[in-house]
Amino acid sequence: MRVAQLDTAAQAFGDPAADIWSGITANKVSLVPAPVAMQTSRYVMSKWRDGQFGKVSSVGVQVLHNGEELAIRLEWENPQANLQRFENNDFPDGAAILFPLTRHAPLFMGAPGEPVDIWHWRADRPDTAHGNLATGIGTSSMVNEDAAVTRSLYRQGRWAVVYRRALSVQTPAAQTVQFTLGKPVKMAFAVWDGGNAERGGLKAFSPQWLEVTPQS
């Protein structure tokens, strides 16, 4: 997927409802439930062995940049918005974008020595995506509270979230993805339906990389 440079101010695309997005092609990325066999908890494996989770089947992905900032807009169907995290059984909806930080880092949350960078948005803290590093399933750890600026919108049974960040940032390259014009970047996606008590490994995820090249 090639992403052309738009001559526009960042404010014009930070909002998921901004006009500019209607002109950007949406890639429909298929999602599947995270495999039960890969859950790192016997309890989770046993309680959710019937796979009653991860039912969001696809996410629409749009990307644009203006030479300074890159924006990724995700949109998916979620019949009910779950914004809260107060009751013990409240789980907010969420979405994440995963970037490999080494050439062969596996899409399944990385591996030892093969870290991945995960931008995690959640409906209970909608204005920022947490930056997580992971080197395997169950290892993600938050390293940056503001990995990307996010804006979200829930309308007619659908979530739309825009993640925005400078193409390159000061953080050591080993800790976060950097976007270079002309250079392809791989990404993968995950979505949590909080209304179905989805959290952690209970999610829908894209089993294939989406390759994105910001162009000059």
Partner: protein, 355 residues
Amino acid sequence: MNKVEIGREIDGVVRKPKRQLAMVFDLNKCLGCHTCSIACKQQWTREEGQENMWWTVVNTLPGRGTPRDWEDMGGGFDAQGRQLPSLIPTREDFGDDFEFNKEEVFNGGKGVQNYLQPKNSRGEKPSWSPNWDEDQGGGEYPNSHFFYFPRLCNHCTHPACLEACPRNAIYKREEDGVVLVNENHCKGYRFCMEACPYKRIYYNHVRDISQKCIFCLPRIEKGVAPACARQCPGRMRFVGYLDDKDGPIHKLVNEWQVALPLHEEYGTQPNVYYVPPMSPPSIGPDGKVEHSKPRIPLEYLESLFGPRVKEALATIEREKARKRNGEESELMDALIVYKWPDDIFPDFVADPANL
């Protein structure tokens, strides 16, 4: 870090820690004063997000407990060691926390028109609290009965909470078997709250983490007994290492076998043991005393502590009789606790005031 490194395997193989700290609660001495719960609250759960937490709580039994009807919620392991499904108790189940209209009644000049009334965290009139059914108990007059029942995390040998955490955020200490949630690693998924059959884990919604009894670790490490035990006016909370042959725990659990685990069938191998409550005999329909029938039905105690209750109660009665007859009884002496704190938590006698 994977589960093998922390002494547990993902397939549920149980590896015991080098030593295990344990508690014995003598239910015959509990006053139901809640000093333990307040001591714990003062020490550990006064922050925002912890308002509804009672890491240790004292219920009246027979009763619905805290959280309400927790024994019907499932969790733990089956006989094959498989984890059983359960659910997350709600704030309402735990009893939530209340705000009272104190300003209005005490300072607002409305003391005559209005009265003190609680509101729960949703601003509603509460339908439950951690001790809503306090002192109700069971049975019909003249056989009505109840006893007080303190509960806290059992620091299980096979902790269902630990096995349920997909992030290895829960660990069991090799040196003393204390089960802890690593708050830096916990992401508030609450699988532990689901899996724990004793429902002794709370959710801190402000910090988005799970929290529970830490066996007063910072005190223990300085030779000070846990707050609930040291403050207990009933002197009914024994603390020590299970393998300490000279300590009261080993004596009560292994030698005299009068202290029994709660719901052993949950499969987590809990490390809090209870000396079951004695009770006076029942009164029959004809008004006669039925000496063979204790007022707290044996079946009820068996439903909590298993089939060994009968034997444990018989041992206590036998030793009590010896003492009454002026004979020596090591068991009675241990339960009475003549020398405090040496006889009740011998390894943790340091006075926190001197630290």
